[in-house]
Symmetry: C2
Subunit: 342 residues, 2 copies
């Protein structure tokens, strides 16, 4: 086993000082050509690589960024993560991921763990529980310490920091308008219990689009499922209101399950009922019929978030007069088989 070699080893072997070795390896003008060549050759030979931790300690920069997401087994977050990771890696940063599992406590613990020097900044989406509790002290503590923070998708107005979101309301509005334009009249919404910021915005967009077209908003057409859906619930609305001719779902899973439910009840998609989901993921592309879906462009969101964070990390502007921005990524409707004019 070849243990890692340090500056000290090189210095000892070559009978020079540690400072000389350090300078030589940085090609400093201060060191004579021959000494540099000797040291560099030796370093190459023994494959010397500086210890990241020591450098971090000295620089007070870790080149690590912390990402905290509610769930990793979820296509959207996974996509955002990929955007973050790619951009960060290109810039020489590593990514430490923590999964909050939708739990407030885990979110707090994870942040505290990472905030003590492990990372240069955070990118995160709030857990469901955090949004429910409306308690953001852990975020404020972090920003108070001068650690840059970027929130994406699940954000809050309570915290002052950079944010990346899609215009959920506009996206839902667009989807519903499209259905209306296709001649659909009784448009249902399948959403989550609305402590989730994004869900309620989508609901707003849904309602607004209906109103603009003088279609009454009917509460029976709005189905609120728990975030961890259970199968049976789906039936209620549709049995209650047979004549639904279109459904907007706030995520892919709800949409797929809606389609399945309709099919099992002898309704044809899109002939009888048109369906649009959110989160353009693998399910949308591979379901049968394929699912029309609002693409949230997760990877792009990730890239933007990473860029915002790293820019802030590397800028020397001392805070006080900081400007925080909210980037809005435009959502696009990807039309597939599950929609067609009636």
């Amino acid at each position: 086993m070849k243990r890692k070699i340090t500056l000290k080893h090189i210095a000892r072997e070559l009978d020079v000082s540690i400072s000389t070795v350090s300078k030589a390896l940085k090609n400093s003008e201060e060191i004579s050509r021959e000494t540099k060549e000797k040291i560099q050759a030796f370093a190459k030979l023994y494959n010397y690589k500086p210890n990241n931790i020591a450098i971090s300690l000295k620089n007070k920069k870790t080149k690590n960024i912390g990402v905290i997401i509610p769930d990793i087994v979820h296509h959207f977050f996974t996509t955002v993560f990929r955007g973050i990771e790619k951009y960060a890696n290109d810039k020489g940063y590593n990514v430490i991921v923590c999964v909050s599992d939708e739990s407030f406590d885990k979110e707090v613990i994870n942040m505290e763990m990472l905030a003590n020097g492990s990372i240069d900044g955070f990118i995160m989406a709030l857990s469901a529980e955090t949004q429910l509790k409306n308690d953001f002290n852990h975020l404020k503590q972090v920003t108070d310490q001068g650690i840059p923070l970027v929130l994406f998708d699940r954000v809050t107005d309570e915290v002052n920091c950079d944010k990346v979101v899609i215009d959920d309301q506009a996206a839902a509005h667009m989807a519903v308008s499209k259905m209306i334009a296709d001649g659909r009249k009784r448009i249902a919404l399948v959403t989550t219990e609305n402590y989730l910021n994004v869900s309620s915005k989508r609901e707003d967009g849904y309602k607004q689009a209906l109103k603009e077209h003088n279609i009454p908003v009917r509460d029976e057409l709005i189905l609120r499922l728990p975030y961890q859906y259970e199968d049976e619930k789906l039936s209620e609305v549709f049995f209650a209101t047979q004549e639904v001719d279109a459904v907007l779902c706030v995520n892919e899973i709800f949409a797929i399950r809606t389609i399945r439910f309709l099919q099992d009840n002898q309704l044809q998609v899109p002939t009888d009922v048109s369906v649009i989901g959110f989160t353009d993921g693998i399910l949308s592309r591979l379901s049968n019929p394929t699912l029309s879906s609002v693409a949230q462009h997760g990877e792009e969101m990730g890239t933007i978030a990473a860029k915002m964070l790293i820019d802030k990390v590397e800028s020397d502007v001392e805070e006080g007069d900081e400007q925080y921005h909210t980037e809005v990524v435009e959502a696009t409707l990807i039309e597939r088989e599950s929609t067609r004019s009636s």
Copy 2:
């Protein structure tokens, strides 16, 4: 902004030495009760938390583990990751993820980046390109340095380290045997180009099961798709051999696409053709018909891998006489709608 407070600050404020503060905070017997109380109170008040980096440097332990996977937007890896993350977090470790994107070079770069002190050990699945090149020097370098390594799923015999796999051959064997027992006779295999270790093992299992039941292995029934599948290819086999009555696919996506293809060609699943996939993911549960699938128990694999790694990291057994183990996680066949006896 409240900058982070250090031992030095506390020492200065309270007019004691840094060593005293350090000991007091660890509740050392060496320090008097009153001094300890004073220091602890002060530390609490100013919310003192030791700097992780400094501790890492001193201990030569980072409490970070590096995970390198080919792709994060892939249900199986995501599942394994969740297992790793949960276990590691419970043990006080953080997880740094790098995505190799199936590229050899990225894998090498990422490993080198992390190997210089950033992590205490690696968990990884080999990239496709690495398996193709059959070049594992980067892995050997890491193990030579005494950094523990655990390989999962995509492993190789060339490297001496702990491993976690499922018995792919047995799993495929089981799936095919089940189809045979159901009365299926012409069983096709949809697989990837077989530089992927796992694919070739599954193919072995497929062939072996056929042989054991005296069913001839027919090459026309084996379809090899590029890893990044393209749609058209799927048609060939099935058009060539209309009478296929069962299909085993080496992943979920191939399976879903097979089902869709069959349906588009007026074949009923499972009535006419029975389909089984690998990777029991979200697609399997939500497709129509739902997909029978070989569950690889990714989360369990992740947990085991994390446990093996952390055990090794925390054991003081100096190497030389190390024992490496390969844990085999049993695959199980989850039967859903896509299979039924003919």
